[in-house]
Amino acid sequence: MVLYILNGLYFGAFLFLTSLGLTIILGVMGILNLAHGSLFALGAFMAAWTIGLLATGPPSTALILAIICSMALTAAVGFLLERSLIKPIIRRPLEYQLLITFGALLLMEDVIKLVWGGEARYASAPFDSMGRANLLGLEYPWYFVFVMALTALAGAAVWVVMARTRAGIMLRAIAMDRDMAEAMGIPIKRLSSLAFMLGASMAGLAGALMVPTSPALLGIGMEPLIMAFIVVVIGGMGSLKGAVVGSLLVGQARSFGVGFLPELEMPILFLIAVLILIGRPQGMFGKG
Amino acid sequence: MLVVRNLVKDFGKMRAVNRVSFQIKEGEVVSLVGPNGAGKTTLVNLISGHIMPDEGEIIFMERNITRFPPHKRIKMGIARNFQITQLFPELTVLDNVRNCVFSIRGLIGQFFKPSDNYEEVTSRAREILRRFHLDHLEGELPANLSEGDKKVLDIAMAYALESRLLLLDEPTSGVATSDKFKIMETIVKAIDRSKMAAMIVEHDMDIVFDYTDRVLVLREGTIMADGVPRQVMEEPEVRATLFGIGA
């Protein structure tokens, strides 16, 4: 039982990191970024590549460096995306906004292929080397514990940024009412880029953390995107609290779903999402 | 024809309409006056069914329509315009009006014959446009109309619903004074006194005096006076409320 909860938390960690970016961008810019999964993939490939380069050294340092590189890269790419593609269409109708991120998704998939080739990239050294922890009589891989801890840390950091810093408060203001914020002279352009970079780097982190347990593949970003999407829908668009609660909920739902309803592990999540959408289209913590 | 009893509408803590009761008979043209935020538009919204009241009831043609959805009320003959003109920007002037005619004729759901092939409806729509002096603009999009014409079109659409009770929310606001009376003339001409009535939200006292038989004065959601304009306007309390002088 405890193991199921742990697995749920572990899976939830990835959900949280990916959905965080999605929800921030949705909240601040009102855009559903379909390319978000590709940022996850980018992080994964970058990390796999770095770890591969540092294969000779100690895995732990390789992992740390990989994480840093992935986050830096995805942040940079996020910045480029925002400036080159999102900014021009921010005032355009919905269909254009959704389509351009769709285009970005297709684009990035192939760019990744161009850079790193089509084959799967394994980089499991950190995971293999860490071994198992003994928590309250249960054997559980240290690496998974590490992932959860780091995620908690990242979540806390983002919360501090959003709640305590000026930038964060202004971001929340934009999320609440873009025009008002603009009228108040908040530098929307710069903050939008910031939000995008923040979200992107979180996706990159998630990708980097996944790589030691599962190879980096083409199209690896599709599942995280859909999962994050479900989380955002459940938690509420643009709500950090929603991202937390949503990912915890979905993580547990999947873990126990696999354990006790193996035939429905996927549909059940969408069912939850749809039911919540019907009742509260803005999600649990979203605003109308 | 219209009976309103103890109507109440709250927005959160703020009570916009407070136990309002009044009547309107066939052939009457009633004006509704009062300072901003007195609840005039809210009252129009309640009667037209745009919003539902918290308490009280609305009886129209001997039927309790308090909970009726808008489309039912419109069928029964309650039509309204909007203070800020509400048009269909991507449809031509003709279609703006024609939609109303289709709606009231119960043809709006027809999906096989192009609108243009409904001669009878189209000619009716044209006739209305003529009546409101918009016939020369029938092919235009609303965006290309002057403010005054937009206003008139908005009213023409309400009229096109062949209503028995016409609710006009500031039909002349934002229109050059010179046009105001032209608009009112057309409206009043359009109202067939034998079976129609109108309730007009208005700020301009001249219009209240010249065109309406009765005036309701609204303040903070309650009716403070009801009667013949000239007499009511004598009451100092009313003058105080409306013009902030005397008393």
Binding site: L32, L107 | Q86, P89, L91
Partner: protein, 330 residues
């Protein structure tokens, strides 16, 4: 009179176009023809989709679900009721089945607009996708279902290979359906109902205040749109010969949006042009290079940024430029 003249011109052009399509099989190779048939199916889908986007102002990001519904209606009948596996049963079944699904989903969706509507449609289609994938023993899971050549009015195409079927009878059968769908949609959007949903799109409040029942009309539009998608799916299943859950995946729905904007959703013909162009573009991108996503993605971004009117929109602009340069002609 000028109006009448242009009208005559238009009808003339239309007749020529139809004749052209009828003669096409004689000129283009069978493989291109089969591709074109795919494109025509997507054209019907696009028409239905655009009824929501252009005329009702609702962006569905899950239209694949109804396309899949039509395609699977065919597949499932073939699998579980072979005795009913006849064209005259299958096509109506595809339409009805998807219409029912659209009726149910639509009932939920039309209560929302803007991005909420899009996300809800997306989630619902993914629910369909996940279900199709998971119910392996019922739906064949991710393997999908084969679709054979059905008999038509008792005439079985014995020993005929699919390309023959597709180049012969089926092409004209499909063409017939396309013409009917286009004609019906053309009438629909000009009918009182069509004007009404446009009114709803333009100004919900006013629409309600002239007695239009906003949600119900949206629902009807959704229903028709879904039925179109279903018809398209049914017709397409015979062209492809194989249906898979991918049809209900949001990526396919995204491609539908893409096709429509590629052609230009502001114009009636846009989705049709877009669908056909997209089909060829994609297949030749896919078979031409392993980096086809790059090509599709870049074209997509280009269209959105540089040609928001789509191909048809761009064409119109060009024509007007030409007219402007040669005033005596118009």
């Amino acid at each position: 009179m000028a109006g009448l003249a242009t009208k005559r011109k238009k009808t003339g052009a239309l007749v020529l176009l139809i004749i052209g399509f009828v003669l096409l099989p004689q000129v283009i190779p069978s493989y291109q023809l089969v591709l074109l048939e795919s494109g025509l199916c997507f054209a019907i889908l696009g028409l239905g989709f655009n009824l929501l986007l252009r005329y009702t102002g609702l962006l569905s990001f899950g239209h694949g679900a109804y396309f899949a519904a039509g395609a699977y209606a065919v597949g499932m009948i073939g699998r579980y009721a072979p005795e009913l596996y006849r064209m005259e049963v299958l096509i109506p079944a595809a339409i009805v089945f998807s219409a029912i699904l659209a009726a149910i989903f639509g009932f939920v969706c039309v209560r929302h607009t803007r991005i909420f509507f899009s996300i809800l449609t997306l989630a619902l289609s993914m629910l369909v996708f996940a279900t199709l994938v998971k119910l392996y023993y019922v739906t064949g899971g991710s393997d999908g279902i084969r679709v054979g050549i059905p008999p038509v009015l008792g005439h079985a195409f014995k020993g005929m290979r699919r390309p023959q079927f597709l180049e012969g009878f089926y092409y004209y059968f499909l063409l017939g359906w396309v013409i009917v769908s286009v004609a019906f949609m053309y009438l629909l959007v000009r009918s009182p109902f069509g004007k009404a949903i446009q009114a709803v799109r333009d100004n919900e409040i006013r629409a309600e205040m002239i007695g239009i029942r906003v949600k119900r009309f949206r629902w009807w539009a959704f229903l028709v749109s879904g039925a179109y998608a279903g018809l398209a799916g049914g017709l397409w299943s015979f062209v492809n010969g194989h249906v898979t859950p991918e049809l209900a995946h949001w990526v396919f729905s995204g491609e539908v949006v893409y096709m429509t904007l590629l052609g230009g959703f502001k114009s009636f013909a846009g989705p049709i042009v877009g669908a056909i162009v997209f089909t060829f573009l994609k297949l030749y991108a896919v078979s031409g290079t392993e980096y086809w996503m790059l090509i599709i993605g870049i074209t997509l971004i280009g269209i959105v940024l540089l040609l928001p009117g789509g191909l048809v929109g761009g064409l119109v602009i060009l024509l007007e430029r030409a007219k402007a340069r040669a005033p005596w002609r118009s």
